[in-house]
Amino acid sequence: MNVQVALPILIPLLAGAVSLLFWRSRLMQRVVAVAGTGLLLVASVWLLSTVSRDGIQVLQVGNWPAPFGISLVADLLGAIMVVLTGIIGFAVALYSLATTGRGHEAYGYFPLMHLLLAGVAGAFLTGDIFNLYVWFEVMLVASFALLILGNEKAQMEGAIKYVTLNLLSSVIFLVAVGLLYGMVGTLNMADIARRLASLEDNGMADVLAMMFMVAFGIKAAAFPLFFWLPASYHTPPVAVSALFAGLLTKVGVYALYRVFTLIFHHSPGYTHEILLWGAGFTMLSGVLGAAAQFEFRRILSFHIVSQIGYMILGLALFTPLAIVGGIFYIAHHILVKTNLFLVSGIVHRLQGSYRLKRLGGLYRSHPWLAVLFLVPALSLAGMPPLSGFFAKFIVIRAGIEAEAYGVTAIALLVGLLTLYSMVKIWSEVFWKAAPGDDAAESYSTVGQRELWLMSLPAVGLALCTLFIGLNAGPLYALAEASAGELMAPERYIEAVLGPSREGSP
Amino acid sequence: MIEMFKAGLILTGALFMFLAALGLVRLPDLLTRMHATTKAATLGASLIMLAVALHFGEVAVVARALGVILFIMMTAPVAAHVIGRAGYFVGAKLWHGTIKDELRPNYDPLTHELKSGLETDANAVHHPRESDPK
């Protein structure tokens, strides 16, 4: 009995439910926040170790046999993603202890956080396409609520765009699922894959593939579907931004990976070629978007878009190495991007702004913070020997080996432009002298304990980045094994449905 | 025989429904339209539900059919009252053929007080009702 497949969903659900039940007690909320996310991390590591030892883990929810009920499936990709979810959840929970106001807590900050994590973990672990929709919605509505928490003007404006475009995405997804069920009569993804392969006419599969591509493309913030992200990610409290930045779009990317390796992989010349174009434009437009910005979090937000391009590139190239690169990139990006947002929050706490013009002098006053920024920032730009370098390197190597020179050139150029943005931040926020002398003054208002609490997760994530950079072997091996699974979907299908029966549809 | 009766009920019910709708379209002002709709529709639905009760003839179904009738009877007038009242007070125009209005003179649009026209000075003051918000 492999209960660990369900735990990463159950733990945050329960944590969310309990902290909703005790919404009057601030202490309880905080204790549950740390304990819940901590347990999630432990459970996810347990899951990953099981999966990497024993192969794909399947849990038939409700004990109903495979295509009829809902299957939870943890393959390596899912398990890796869940571990990342656990890491980010735990880090953000700690960070939130220092940054979350009473008002936010009173209106459900922590339960929302738990449930967001639950939605994310559910999306990573479900083997059922409609259930994936449900988890998407859990995640989405939790993110809606987190996004508006605080009721500021910018939040409202951002939220309207975020909500509208994400709802459109959900509807497209839902429509695609409805049509798919009408066609193949099943919802289990493994079963869908098996049945679609048996269809005589694959044309309709391509059509549906396009719908899923757009639906997940919006979630993943791919070109030209990313508008909601830069419009909103800089508006909520920074811990929320960090959580979003790390996890949300990656769920879209994950879904693309899942669907376009398991289900729609029969005409890569068509589907993956389109993804390739999408990847190129996503990288480029995201990074250009950032170049035009002069606000810490907006820059970071646009860079999410461009980095999504790299991840999609890995999928689009559709070679084993490329998939490895994509997975490596996802893992790296989640850690680094979250961390950058956390650092931006510390900066904001110290100097009261996210606007580059109004920041400065932190290299002189807070050298440790400068280092804390530099590690993820350089990693994001793909500088060695940090995690981002290997991520970029693998993708680029895969690109060149697949002879996709154009898009590889874009990938390289985008790396440079990413560096440009990070250097811009560095130069303005850290090197430039503080505009006016209120920096020291606002510093005194930040308590040491608070600062510690805020820095702790950031340091932890930076160490992760550094560790992956200096010791890329283990993660690479994991990503390689995972790519092996993805490139051989029969393994997934057999794990869920059992060995293929002759004559079955 | 029962079939005939059933058919009659259904057709009459449907006819009343239709008449209600026709009245809704044809009648000249809000309040007269409401006369057509609330009652005719209630009656139509009730007749059809009676047909349903006859058709199935099982206790459980009959009870449900009667339940529908009961519930409609309970809710329809409340809805009608609430809409009609709101419509009247916000100034829905009455048909020009309206011959009298005994309410208007007793209503004070500033204080929203509605007198009965039977008051002496003593009982004219407002006295609280059970339903007032506490």
Binding site: F68, G69, G103, S285, G289, A291 | -
Partner: protein
Amino acid sequence: MQLAVLGGFVVAGMAPLLHRWFGARTPLVLSLLPASMMIWLLGLWPVIASGEAVLLEWAWVPGLDITLTFLIDGLSWLFALLILGIGALVLVYTGDYLHGHQDLPRFLVVLIAFMMSMLGLVLSDNLVTLFVFWELTSITSFLLIGFHHGDLSARKAAQQGLYVTAGGGLALLAGFVMLAQAGGSWSLAELTMRGDALRSHALYLPMLFCLLVGAFTKSAQFPFHFWLPSAMAAPTPVSAYLHSATMVKAGVFLLARLHPALGGTDAWTLSLSLVGAFTMATGAFLAIQHTNIKKLLAYSTVMALGTLTMLLGLGTPEALVAFVAFLLAHSLYKGALFMVAGILDHETGTKDVTHMGGLRHVMPRTAVVAAVAALSLAGMPPLLGFVGKELMLESALAATQYRVVIVGLTSVAAFLTLAVAAIVAFRPFYGALRRTPRTPHEAPPGMLAGPALLAGLSLLFGLAPGWLDGLVVATIAGLGATDHDVHLALWHGINLPLVLSLVSLALGLMVWRRWDRLRAHLARLRPFMARGPEAGYEALMAGMVAAAEWQTRMLQNGHIRNYLIVTLLTLLGLVGHALLFRHAPNLNVPVAAYPHEAVVAGLMVAGAVAACVMRSRLAAVAAVGIMGFSVALVFVLFSAPDLAITQLLVETLTVILLVLVLFRLPRFATLSTPTERARDLVVAGLSGIMITLLMFSVLGGERLPRISDFLVANSQPQGHGHNIVNVILVDFRALDTLGEMFVLALAAIGVLAMLRFHAESGGTAPTPPRESENG
């Protein structure tokens, strides 16, 4: 050794700690690090001298063939030695130069890290590892150049240097990948043995192009030369270090490394020798326009790097010998000169040579050191610079292609360099003592020791160049020229190079004499010069930002309907294309409907359309209600009682909610223009048609058996329920329902937060929950 390098990084990180213990003596203490490593390297001399290469293996990321293996042969040994040696001197020099500076610990961190990166770069056998160190040098040098980060110019210079070198680094990465792909290995040691396969590979040219871009940017070759002089914003020890021994030579080192693998083709020879020669001339020409001593030196560095590149391009054994000799000479004199420049700056408070004069009276020792180093720069006997220059000229004259161009440019560079040497080393020290912002004194011994040692070595090797023979042999063996006999000598007899040298001496002195007038003439060229590569770089950056802003205006313009339209058009394009070209839509689906069903469908549509066209909000809400009720009727007509009930209830509650909310909202207004409405209508209409076509395709297509057959059959026996839909909801697919209830709860929390959370509390200030009062 790997451990030592990695340890070096750790030591770098600990520099602030060390500074707490050792205070001002920290640089001195730290210089023990490179010194001891140098001693270790020197111990390898016997092996190196025998032409053997030492391979220190170390695994890193096995799956990606990335190793931390070090390859120590003559070439890397020489470079490593220079890096460590000059590094140690620079550290000593720093101790005095930045004495008491508050940022000294940070400076040391970065400097040591830079040194270690550089060392790793030259020692790496693995392409990826080399690249890792390569990029590390870019970053650390970025931090070093931006040391005076309070100045805008320093920040800009640092950024410029970083963008150019990192940009080149990316090209280099691509080149490396192609190289490894073509050569089937990531090991330099192995790749150098597969030169023939590589040179005939289809990817040779693109690979070469990428690699050259990488190397040229790093080594400031034309047209990427401009970043280097800007990098003079760095504190002088850094300039010295960067320009003499290290970073800028990384590109040259790489070219040398790759020479055995890729060199010898026309493409290689031509591109390297021409670019090198052109860079040489450009550097020299630009140098004499400046009065800032560091800029003068920097441009002369550009010139030297051009020379080295050109020599590699020529690629004959003689040229390689010249390469080694010139490299060594340049490292020595340029290091010394930068340190001298630093001393002058430090003592006088100005960097402008035209403001200095007669300093030999107050700082005679410095003057001597400067003179020796400058003579070497000028290529005067009996200094090592002379040996290098003669060999260089000789090689240039031996060029087989574009000989005239190469020789011409080389000669121009030679006499201009001479002028530079004179300007730098004589102008400040001779003539009358001039008033400077600070009153100059003789340099402290720590600062003078380095340049003195380097100048001394220039002299020593100049006098006895033969001592270098072994080293040169070992080094050019690393460059692929094995079994070549080398005899360096000061005097080669009277030959063409010597004549050229003498001519350039004369011309150079002339330039020196008339320097001030020349500068005035050259100033007229400024507008033309302003269109050079640096302007190109600026234009590129500005263009990039402009493009970014344009894109933001076009795409991320804040109009949600534009976002929606783009999204929908993407959907329409992709799905529509697939629908029309990947699949033949089947429109032949039989229609079998009762009149009342058709009416219900019609009302549904009518309700929706009415909601669109009605002018009043609540009328629209009522119309939506009609649509919702009609949908419920569809559910009733087609056997879905649970759905019908849910739909009715939800519709009712939605109407209530809307009415509650709309009360506060403004009325509808017509805000769009007719054109916009027409556009929107087209997009909406196309979307609708697409959906209908999709449904027809599914309805008229092949249908497979449903999993729901199982659910129907097992609902009662195993699920113990007669309402199959409910059994699905709470048992078969209860997980969906679980998620769904959380969605509902989340939405409610969101609503509560929006309505009750007051923005003025600022989020961080405590806001007691209001429910607790009455709940």
